[in-house]
């Protein structure tokens, strides 16, 4: 949510400074196309799984709905830099209760999360599920039109890490379901995808940076994998202080070098 302003500000900043910054004659067409394909795939997955999720809700299948909820959201979290490009769609789909202004209507995944986990029922979710489905479909339709830039990708990767640092690692994203580690993994996947896409060009500019980033991504992914039981992440509330601290520090250590990916734009 808070990233939206950052991204808009960056886009503005980029357009203002494009002439003054000495752009190397790098061609990013291939990278941009690859990333767009990735994002579209994720949003396709979001549409399909949201439909399944809504079907479970409408059928009163609470266990199935709860099991699917974090997986649906991983799609969204991985493609968040793109989703955030569309003004009010992101908050309509992803606003947390704490994000709301007085009188603002709460929609999207999180009011459904509250009903499922706090009231332990599917009853009442129909008030939100219809609009969620149409908002997700609208997002899919708009993604085809989005202009992906290398700046959006570089800043998007850093923003994904910042999302992890400020809300996932503190358990503030999924305060009712405590499925924060899925969002965490989704954000990391989204950032790592951008790194992997840029890797050939980054290697030419700074092979040490690439090696560092590979190590740091591996560290985060290993720590996350250690919190899985039978392919399911533990609830955030099941983590002890040391485990949370280790995850947080692994993200800290990844953040600094990740921000250096901007060297390919210099």
């Amino acid at each position: 949510m808070s990233l939206q302003k950052t991204s808009i500000a960056l886009a503005l900043f980029a357009s203002l400074t494009v002439s003054s910054v000495s752009q190397a004659a790098l061609n990013f067409d291939q990278e941009l196309q690859t990333y767009k394909t990735f994002a579209v795939d994720k949003i396709d997955g979001l549409v399909t799984q949201t439909q399944q999720f809504v079907d479970y809700l409408n059928a009163g299948k609470i266990d199935e709905a709860k099991a699917l909820y974090p997986l649906v959201r991983m799609n969204f979290e991985a493609a968040e830099p793109i989703a955030e490009s569309f003004g009010d769609l992101d908050p309509r789909i992803d606003a947390r209760k704490a994000d709301l202004e007085p009188g603002e209507q709460w929609t999207g995944f999180h009011p459904i999360e509250e009903i499922l986990w706090v009231k332990n029922t599917t009853q009442g979710t129909e008030k939100y599920s219809g609009q969620l489905m149409s908002d997700v479909k609208e997002l899919r339709a708009k993604v085809s039109t989005v202009e992906v830039t290398p700046e959006l990708m570089v800043q998007g990767a850093v923003d994904l890490l910042n999302e992890v640092s400020t809300s996932k690692v503190s358990g503030e994203e999924e305060i009712f379901s405590h499925t924060d580690l899925y969002d965490f993994q989704g954000n990391i996947d989204g950032a790592e995808k951008i790194f992997v896409i840029f890797k050939p060009k980054l290697t030419e500019l700074n092979a040490d940076l690439v090696q560092t980033l590979e190590l740091r991504f591996a560290e985060v992914n290993q720590l996350l994998a250690a919190q899985k039981v039978d392919d399911k992440f533990k609830f955030y509330t099941e983590l002890n202080q040391d485990e949370i601290a280790a995850l947080a520090e692994a993200v800290n250590k990844l953040g600094e070098p990740l921000a250096q990916m901007g060297i390919i734009l210099g």
Partner: protein, 414 residues
Amino acid sequence: MTSKRLTHAVDEPSSLSRRRLLKGAAIGGSGLLFGKAIAAQTSDQPQPTRSTDTTQSIPFYGEHQAGITTPAQRHVYFMVLKLDNTDRQAVIKLFKEWTRQAALLTQGKNIGPYSNNHFIPPADTGEADSLHAYNLSLTFGVSPSFLEKLGLQDKAPAEFKPLPHFPRDQLQAQYTGGDICIQSCADDPQVAFHAIRQLVRHARTSMVSMLWAQNGFNAYNDVSQTPRNLFAFKDGTANALTLKDAEKYIWVDDKNWLQGGSYMVVRRIQMHLETWDRTSYGEQENTFGRDKLSGAPMGQQHEFEPIDTGLKESNGDPVMPVDSHVHLAHRTGQQLLRRSYSYTGGINTLTSQYDAGLLFISFQKSPQQFITIQNAFGKIDKMNEYITHVGSGLFACFPGVKEGDYLGQALLEG
């Protein structure tokens, strides 16, 4: 005790003593070089001095690291780090980079210029831009575990081992341990913090993690004035004697990698201000063994007069209580250099009391100097009622760096 203090106060109103000290500062403040000049205002205060001019900088290179005999700046940011990477070549690279950064930072410079590429974060975070050097000093030390992690434990001098448990210690895990410390002192808190932030920022990706940190402050009108701690007593009066013979008390002179360095003991000491504030004036002085206003040892008139534990009241009782802090420390015959800072960290909401205390820092030729004194306090020190030691560390602070060399070189390459 109280009547004596009152007489004293009448004899020497505080306004008068402030003027006198200010005059002293004017003399001492002219033409000072770090570690060289000796304050000339009174013969019994032979302390190294430094400029209080905040535009001034303290040389980073030299025989000893700055921040040890350098008269305490007004602010500290103290950081303890864990070493994550035990590859010696990687550690050498880190200490070379820290040397480069520290040499720039202490001269009031950023660690790197702003880039033409606006798509990466600035090399320096920039919050000290347009600020002077503010007499910044950066002092680096390593713990016994640092040597172990690098397989250098056979280079550890015999006395370089973790401090023992002391009676009444209530050490908390979040204020103990660690492999590396960096003491950043400056006459401006933001300059002190900025330096640590730069040193940690790039190092933390692959080399270190932050374990604990504490900021603190000292207050004085000029550097010749001994700062008061939060119990309002002067803290560091005895440094004048220690500094008279720094070779004997402070600098390691064994022919090893630490020669010219010094051992640093750091203790995070919680001070129970509420308890202290309901303690009578006389009992406060009995606890320290000093006159609260002047800092004079009990039985004497002036701060820097020698301690005489043999003085007796007319009824035969010692003038300075035998369980007072100063008496117990003095009786050991040991001396060390105190370089402490007060801290306040909001309130403890559980107890509705201040979270405040002293970041005690001392430098000594051997950890034994501190151990002997701390053991002498034991369970009898009257101060125990008002303080709790919650954090602790022992670090070997490297000797100074020659231009072209780097921090810890003798250890890492020796």
